[in-house]
Each structure stands twice: as structure tokens, then as C-alpha cells.
Symmetry: C2
């Protein structure tokens, strides 16, 4: 941690243009509606599934060897894991919480315990801006989104592929994505997990930035590792998982299950499968490098059997809650939730669906929420307007997570003595000394009168949000970066681009 | 209850056009984040407030006499209530749960315990429909809203003044409102609590409908009694409270506090005041008639100090949660929450705010949710489109309240044995036997592809909702009513209108 301290002392004034991220430590406990019997039942079933059916680790002899050496039953690519073994591997060495370091040490984040970290949407191929045609994302869009994330106090984490930079060849994207996060922000970011090559390059860029020794000893990036549900981890994902874990970087093992398609149609069945998959994936990281930071991620949805589209509703909310209880029993950080919607525009459906999932995320005790802002069209589109509205919503969510202040002053007994029945509190000392911060005053939500709203042009929330992000981008100033470091990052990237054939 | 049974046997076929309301009994426990120490602290402070500061019961010597006889300290109109006395009065005789009877016994509802009953918005002066200018509500609008409520399976309760029928003189409104609910639906409804006269007339109409003896022995209506916060109950409210309670009809004692204006600016302070006011009001009903059904209602909001407008956010959510825990300790039903928004149109703000409050309502363990559908512009406007979207949302909320099925079949262990790693579950027996009801398929939310949405005309959720309510009203058929009863109701109403000077 010495480097962190040194960097802090050196920090130039302009580095402080943007306030330190709002650290959210929940004082409100998570919602835990399910009892010990039900939780133990799900755990037993997940153990049975791993032991009897097992899981495929495909195209990666090294992973199979790790499992075999650990004592699992390996036949071909099928790995059957003794009851309790995966849980034991995780509990024995995976850290219950860890810090992901940011280029600016003031913006490092902690995952685990009562910490709540928000990152914007991830992996959207399309981008939408009010008044423009929806289009495929570009590197310019990604840079803009990274800048807007930098300016959003409630997004403590910069995310990763906030939109796909489709104007960059697939084989080069991980380089430009990492550069965008290393250059236009100084918040922590997600390295791509799309291949082993992407993982190796991302780690090399981090070594240039933080120093080789620091990266080996500290978590400087995190990467989503999607399970190919049901019960498969493929070569691509295994390569990325192994590379990041070996380098002591965080992996977020995330099954993504649409009930009825990639898993059973019942919430209980979905959760059993997801827990089994997450156990196996997270345990493998500990076989690769004991102590490597790892989170369990969960993405669950229903399925509209008529259209084949994912639906987000009560089943997803309930599954997120029970998974929260299960992951906390494992004792590692929990990633889940999303301000997600199937809506194609920022309409009342988008607002409703995003709020449902966002609240449930916080109630489930999630530690890391990717897709906290901008998610539209079931994750296919990043909306700049929804990004702004979601960020505003997160400020409210942060207040919620803070719980109620029961201190003597907050009880207001003196105010009651001052103000009698039928009198108002507007001019009471208790109100006057607190009104500035008493309630979140939103930039996006309109709470004025109908007449004022009409005189202001009858704007929707999306229209107000549109002006806000345009104004913010105009005022954006990049965080400082050492010119030599910047040159070495660009040099590395250009050399790698030459070495990697442009594909996709 | 004999009448109820007789009516059920007599029920004509056409009475069944609309399915029995969806009875929601929560299997998911409420969210109870606050501990015994904090709850007891709030109770002590509320007791102190009632004992030291006291509450005004204005313009009503009878109420003061009731308090004096019960042993309270009455000076002028100020009543100071000994610590624990109000709580004791409520606990001693107020029913922990009760049935409100509907004209059609199949649609009677129960309040209390694990029951969750939804009613539409209440008291909105304006009405909005997509593509039309917002206008003052009329009796025609009210009738339409009563019909739409009749057709909504998740609105088990018909509500009351769903919009203000401003084309009817104020002094006559309670009569036409009651008639609308007695004629165009057969679900239970809220009697007006705007005056003692309104209460008396409403009870007379119920006696014509249910029979005098039945009404005296059973709850056939419920009425909102707003506290004039801080710490005042005025003559109008006291008249209505006494009249309904004396007739064994339910009252919903509801303080409505904007923090910083009608109460302290802190959530803890607001909750102390609200609890004190609710205790005093509910206890008075038991002095009027021990055993009279009573609920505690809570409406709390923040205040935008710049505009004076209410803001709904974390403070409201948290206060609703803690009040849920406190009301359950009292052991009577809890009314609270709203699908509320300050938005002026059905946009992403409307969707977000309504979802936030609606979810929190359910988590708070509310038994009766008025304002479950249609609420717009901070309660000034009833939106037909939002009504439809909110009703759809309630269906999802009902699924959520149902919790997770952990039965052996739901665990899907056979399905896991049938489908191996990497296979899909679409054609598994487990999926096929359940997919029809597995997930809520919304009429309002779009979950299809972007291309399909574009080909369907790029509609917003509000536009889809607009078609839905128009179609529903076209298909509406009134529930049957005995012609003689109908004539006697109209006769009573016309006679009362002649007797009451048209005012307002």
C-alpha cells in the first residue's frame, strides 16, 4: 500500500476537480426473508447437482488437471465435485472483502461487507441519445460514457465496456477500452474477460500504470467471467479466469440464466443451478491462486415463452434476495442486480423496471452493482438519458442504504416543545439547521407545480436528462496523467494492435 | 354473516363476469430493518409527546368529554394523554383484523395480518388521458374509473373519490360517489369522510343496500380520517370519525406529514409525531365504540424547500418501513404507501417514483394500499394510462408477495437429471408443465425485440396503456343490481340533494 500513500501525497490540485466518490456503507441491513431451512435446502441441492451431474470445463486441460489434483472426479471434460468441497475451497482462502485500486488512490473502492459500489451498464452494442437515431456504439461514445461516469459521484466504479466500440476491430477492443478508463477517468475499471489475450494485455497495461510489483500484490482490476449456463465453463472464459486469478486480479463469476431456457423455470431451480455454477467457478479461482479475490455474480431472468425474450419481475427479485443470503453464507462479495429494463425508450416502463430491480438489488445486500446506469432494451442499448436519471436515482438509493438516524437530536423532541399543535415547522430551529441536506433534491425529477412545469416547456424526465448530460460533457476536464505514462500506454497499445490481426 | 351466505347462493351467473378479486396473502415476511431498541425509543418519544405537549381536538366538545371521561388531562381543547393510555385503549378492543363486506360477497376483503388489499388513487381534482388536455374530473370520469377498477383483478377494493366529480356540487358529492361504487361495481368502497353529514348519508345508503342490522354488525365501508398535522383533529374530521365508528364502520386514521412543514424535518421526528397522532385518533374510535374497526394510515413526504412541493424519496421509504413495525406492535391493520409520483406526465419519472414507493409499501407490510393505481402530479391528477400500468405492476407485486416455492417439485432436481450441462430446458418436462404460468406476461410492458417494437409503431408504455383502457371500457358490463334497490338508492340520493343546498 506504500505506493497508494505516495500517490496521494503527490496528487495535484486539479486531480480534485471531481469530488471523491461517495463511499456507501449500508447501515440498513439487507432484507433476509428466507429461513435457515430453505437456505440449507438450496445448498444441499446445489451440492447434489455438482456431485451427481457435475459441470463441464471445456477445451481447457489445465482446469481439468487442477480439479483432478484437488480430488474431484474428472471424466473427460465433466467434473464432479464432492459435496461441500467447492464451498470449502472458497471459504479457506478467498478474501471476504478486498480493495480494487484506482489510478487515483482517493477513488479506490472496497468490495464486501457493508460496502455498496455502483458501476454503469456493460456490454451494450447500441447507443441511444434523445433526438438522434439509435446507432451502434463507437469508441467516441465509450469515451463520453467514461467521462460521464467520472463526473457522477454515485458511480464509484468506471465499469468496463459501457458500450461496445464497434468501430474498433473485436481483437483490438480490450486495448482501447482499457485505455479509455486509464485516460479519461481515474476511477477503478473492469478489464475485459472475453479471452485470455484480453486478460494478459489488460494486466500489462495495469503493470505500466501501477508498477508490476504493486499489481501482483493488489487488485487493480476486476473482470466478469460468465458461466455458459447450464453447467459449462468454456475455453474462453476459463482462459480469462485463470489469467486474472493467477495475476491476483478479481474475477466475478457470473452465471446468467433465463429460467426455462438455460435453467429450470422455477426460481428455486434457477437458484440451485446458479449457486452450483458459481461455487464451481469461484472454487477454481482458488485452485489457480489461493487468496485471489473473487466475487459471485448473479443475473437471473424469466422468459417470455411467446417471444423468447427475457422478462424481469418477481422471480428475478426473489432470486436476487435468496442469492444474497446464500453468498453471504459463503463469505465473499456479491455482485448482482441492474437498473435494467426491456423498454426501447426512456418511458414509464423504463423507469418502473429499473426502479424495481435497483431497489431489490440494494435490499439483497449486493456489494457490487454493474448495470447501475443507462441500461435499456434488455441490455442491448446504452441510453445517455437513462444514464443520467439512474445516476440521480442512485443518490436516493444511497440515502436509503444509510437508514434512519435515531440520535437524540434527530428525534426532534426540542422542536416539538418549540412548535405546538397546529403550528408549522418551517421556521423552527430544527428545520432551519437541517433543511439544506434534509432531502435529496433531484436534477432530473420534477417536483414543482403543474403550472411551472408547463411554463418550462412540458418536458419529460428524459428531456431534462438530455440537457444535463450534454452540459456535463461540455464542462468535463480529464484527470491529469503523467505524460510519460500516457505515451507508454499508447505505445504498448499500438504495438499490440500490430501484433493482433484486426478481426470482427 | 348469514346474509353473506344467502347472497352467495342467490348470485346470478352474470355476476361472475369478472373473476373474484385476487386475494393476496403475503408469504414473504415484511422487511423489518429496525431493532427493538429503536422501536421502543420511538414509542417512548410518542408517549412523551402525547403526555407533555398533547393534541388539540378542535370544535368538538363530545370528543373532549370522551377523553375526560377516559381519564385524560383536558384543558380547553388540548388533550394530554397519559403514557401508554392510547396504546392500551387500542390494544384492548380494536380488532386485529376485520372484513369489509362488498355488495357481492365474493368480493369482500379482509384487512390485517398477512392480507394485502389494493385500491386506486384517491381525491384527485384533475384527470388526464393521453391525447387530451388535462381537465377537472367529472362524475363521468369517476364512473369510468370505478368501472376500470371493477375490471382490474388486482384492485380488490374500489377506492372512493378516485377523481373529484367537480361537476357535482361539493355538498352533493358524497352521494354520487357512493352511488357510483354501489352501482358500477360490486367491490367494497371508501365512504367519504369530508363531514359528519357525508358519513351519515353514506351509512344510510349502506343500510338500504345491506340491511340496517347487517351494517350495524359488520364493516361495510371504510373512511379516511386525516389528522390536521401537527397534532390537531378538527371538527369536520372528528364528526366523520365519530359517525363511522359509532356505526361500527372502519376508520383509517391518517396523519399526512410533509417533513419540515407539518412536522420535523428528520425521519425519526416525523415518525414520532405520526405515531402520536395515529395513536390518539385510533384510541378515540375505541372511546366512541369499543371494537369499532380502525386502521392506522401513514402518508409521509419530504419537502423541496425551494418550491414547497412534496418530494418522495428515501425518507418516505424508511418512515414507511419503521411505521410498519410500529403498527404491527399495536396489532391493528396498517394502511400506507402509494404508487405516487410528482411527474406531470406518464414518463420515466412516473414509472420510477411509483415503483419505488409501491415496492416499499409491500416490504413495509402494509395491509391496505390506497393510491395503488393512477396517481400523478403529487396526487392532483388521476391518469388513466398510469392507472393501467400500475394495475399491471400490482400483478407482479402480488407474485413477489407470494415468495419462493421450495416444494420438492419446484427444486427441479429431476429436470437437472434429465438435462445435462450445455443443454437447454425449453423442451424439458419440468418447463413444459409450468411455462404458461411461470412468469407474469405483461400487457403494458414491452419485452419483445427492437425490430418488433419498431414495426408495431414505436409505442411508449403510456401509448399501449391508452389503448388498453379504452378497449376495456368498451367491453365493460355493469354487475347486476336489484331494480328495487337501485330505485331506492336513487330516490334517497335525490331527496338528500334537495335537502342539502348545492354548495361548492
Amino acid at each position: 500500500m506504500r505506493r497508494g500513500l505516495r500517490a496521494k501525497q503527490r496528487e495535484p490540485e486539479s486531480h480534485r476537480q471531481v469530488p471523491a466518490a461517495k463511499v456507501i456503507r449500508r447501515r440498513l441491513p439487507p432484507f433476509t426473508p428466507f429461513d435457515e431451512d430453505n437456505l440449507a435446502l438450496i445448498e444441499r441441492c446445489a451440492d447434489d447437482l455438482l456431485c451427481e451431474t457435475g459441470m463441464d470445463f471445456r477445451g481447457d486441460p489445465e482446469s481439468l488437471a487442477l480439479w483432478r489434483d484437488a480430488g474431484a472426479d474428472v471424466k473427460g471434460e465433466r467434473v464432479r465435485i464432492e459435496r461441500g468441497m467447492a464451498r470449502h475451497l472458497i471459504r479457506a482462502t478467498a478474501p471476504p472483502s478486498f480493495v480494487q485500486h484506482a489510478r487515483n488512490p482517493r477513488r479506490s473502492v472496497e468490495f464486501g461487507n457493508d460496502h455498496l459500489v455502483f458501476a454503469p451498464g456493460y456490454g451494450m452494442p447500441f447507443v441511444s441519445k434523445l433526438g438522434e437515431e439509435r446507432h451502434y456504439g463507437t469508441l467516441g461514445d465509450l469515451d463520453d460514457l467514461v467521462k460521464l461516469t467520472y463526473l457522477a459521484p454515485c458511480l464509484q466504479h468506471s465499469g468496463g465496456v459501457t458500450c461496445e466500440p464497434t468501430d474498433i476491430p473485436v481483437s483490438h477492443r480490450h486495448l482501447e477500452v482499457a485505455y479509455s478508463h486509464l485516460r479519461w477517468t481515474d476511477k477503478p475499471f473492469l478489464g475485459l474477460g472475453t479471452s485470455g489475450v484480453a486478460a494478459v494485455d489488460t494486466i500489462d497495461l495495469l503493470r505500466l500504470t501501477f508498477g508490476r510489483e504493486f499489481v501482483d500484490a493488489n487488485c487493480c482490476t476486476a473482470s466478469i467471467i460468465n458461466v455458459n449456463s447450464p453447467l459449462v465453463l468454456d475455453h474462453t472464459m476459463l482462459e480469462a479466469l485463470k489469467t486474472y486469478a493467477a495475476a491476483n486480479q478479481a474475477t466475478i463469476v457470473t452465471p446468467f440464466v433465463m429460467g426455462g431456457a438455460m435453467g429450470p423455470v422455477t426460481p428455486a431451480g434457477m437458484v440451485i443451478q446458479v449457486l452450483a455454477e458459481a461455487l464451481a467457478g469461484a472454487a477454481l479461482t482458488q485452485l489457480v491462486r489461493p487468496g485471489a479475490p473473487v466475487m459471485i455474480g448473479v443475473m437471473l431472468s424469466g422468459l417470455n415463452m411467446k417471444t423468447g425474450a427475457p422478462t424481469r419481475g418477481a422471480e428475478s427479485w426473489l432470486s436476487m434476495l435468496v442469492m444474497g443470503q446464500l453468498v453471504r453464507r459463503l463469505g465473499i462479495p456479491y455482485r448482482g442486480g441492474a437498473a435494467s429494463t426491456s423498454a426501447k425508450v426512456v418511458d414509464s416502463q423504463a423507469g418502473q423496471e429499473a426502479a424495481d430491480m435497483l431497489l431489490m438489488t440494494v435490499l439483497a445486500g449486493v456489494n457490487f452493482l454493474i448495470h447501475a446506469a443507462g441500461h435499456l432494451d434488455a441490455g442491448l442499448c446504452m441510453s445517455f438519458e437513462k444514464f443520467v436519471q439512474d445516476c440521480d436515482h442512485l443518490e436516493m438509493i444511497a440515502r436509503f442504504a444509510d437508514g434512519i438516524d435515531f440520535s437524540e437530536d434527530a428525534l426532534a423532541m426540542d422542536a416539538f416543545r418549540e412548535i405546538g399543535p397546529g403550528q408549522h415547522y418551517l421556521s423552527s430551529q430544527h428545520t432551519l439547521s437541517r433543511y439544506r441536506d434534509a432531502f435529496h433534491i433531484s436534477e432530473v425529477l420534477d417536483t414543482g407545480s403543474y403550472e411551472q412545469w408547463r411554463d418550462d416547456g412540458c418536458l419529460t424526465a428524459a428531456q431534462r436528462a438530455s440537457s444535463i448530460w450534454r452540459k456535463r460533457l461540455e464542462l468535463y476536464e480529464p484527470p491529469p496523467i503523467d505524460a510519460a505514462l500516457d505515451a507508454s500506454l499508447r505505445d504498448f497499445i499500438e504495438r499490440r494492435k500490430e501484433a493482433l490481426p484486426a478481426s470482427g
